[in-house]
Symmetry: C2
Subunit: 222 residues, 2 copies
DNA sequence: GTCATCGACTCCAATTTTGGAGTTGACGTC
DNA sequence: GACGTCAACTCCAAAATTGGAGTCGATGAC
């Protein structure tokens, strides 16, 4: 009789109900944030809509920004199949591939979360570095990075990208600069997705210089 | 500072969640009883389908027959609008009215609950008289009796039924005998709703003798 | 500058649910 | 008739949620 504790049975009822409650809260938050904005909606409001006590939301997410981060993470995961699907029909050209992927990412990002929300998310990285929100943000980035790595390997296998380059490092670089672009985009008040993509285009082109065998991304000079 | 207890705030979250859980359990039980029968389904099964611990079901309903009673009560209430609607277009004749109402009641009773279930329900009245199940059964009967009273008053107002007769007493009598007929019906293994109605017809006719002004229910001699 | 307000967040006791072990009685098998 | 099994039901400790009071800092009114 050594083991007297009962630490969360894997498929147990308790665990399932937690997951259920969490999604209830996230659903409520998603709807309210989308409808009336992040700052304008209170925790109590979310709690009421989720049929849950406010204290429970704090149990789960500790802070309002964390709740938002969790929401972002969920959306990024939910949009995963769409991205995988995109990978089935990659353009021939590396440059075109990256650009198209960036467009998809931007569309997905703004589909369910407003610029206001993204500002909160990005700022959380700095207001509490090393905190829970920051770690969630890192995880979010990693999801994208991993997909980029896969994509780069694909192009390497086809001889469309220098075999010598480390896909992980390149992915890191690309996600880094596009994240930065995205941050500047949501920080500014105006601009469309096209503007965002236009902002990133020269960066991608520069990065690819010398890594693409044939020439320097010729198709998109204009 | 006299009141230190907190006994169930009326519109509170706790109360709403209890109601929700209760309907989850009842929904699960309803589906399983209908699909595989009352005896054949276990409390654990119901609990699992309702996403609730078995202990919770006992918290709410104490026993399996009680759970079934609660289910019956819910169905009787849910079918109320249909019965009200029936009252909007009552036949001219008392006899026809009662018969048509009996048909409706029989159809409703067997729509969601099998004969097996009704046997359990009716037997509960005797296995534990004065118990929770028996009281629920009485409430169930009262719902019907009240509706009958309304119907009888309607016919009295129209001069189709002796004014001197007490509607409550008459309703009591009718529900009593038809309940008995229904009991014999579900206890037997064979027979259709038509058989059940045919069983009750002469009883109704006899009861109405002398109470209906014109003659003794002439239209349905055959 | 002071005051009131409001919402995020903390804290804790009361309430409820859950998990799990154990009891009991009915039923079928050998 | 002993035995095993199965499901209804009981019991209780642990875990989680809820309700409510209260802290704190920002913001706006006066």
């Amino acid at each position: 009789m050594v083991a007297l504790r009962r630490p969360a049975k894997p498929g147990g009822l308790r665990e399932r109900q937690k997951k259920l409650r969490a999604t209830q809260v996230l659903d409520a938050a998603s709807a309210l944030f989308a409808h009336q904005g992040y700052e304008a909606t209170g925790i109590e409001e979310i709690a009421e809509r989720a049929a849950v006590a406010p204290a429970t939301i704090y149990n789960y997410f500790t802070t309002k920004p964390n709740l938002l981060m969790a929401l972002a993470l969920r959306h990024v995961h939910a949009a995963m199949p769409e991205r995988r699907n995109f990978f089935r029909n990659l353009p021939d050209d590396v440059f075109d591939g990256i650009l198209a992927f960036e467009r998809l990412l931007a569309e997905q990002a703004l589909r369910h979360l407003s610029r206001e929300c993204w500002r909160v998310i990005l700022s959380a990285q700095f207001t509490d570095p090393g905190g829970r929100a920051a770690r969630a943000g890192a995880r979010l980035n990693n999801v994208i990075k991993r997909q980029y790595v896969g994509m780069l390997r694909f192009y390497q296998a086809r001889g469309k990208l220098d075999e010598a380059v480390d896909p992980v490092a390149l992915s890191d670089l690309i996600v880094g600069i596009t994240t930065n672009d995205f941050g500047r985009f949501v920080a500014g008040s105006g601009g469309t997705i096209e503007d965002l993509l236009a902002m990133g285009l020269p960066h991608i082109r520069l990065i690819l210089t010398g890594l693409v065998p044939v020439a320097v991304a010729p198709a998109h000079k204009k």
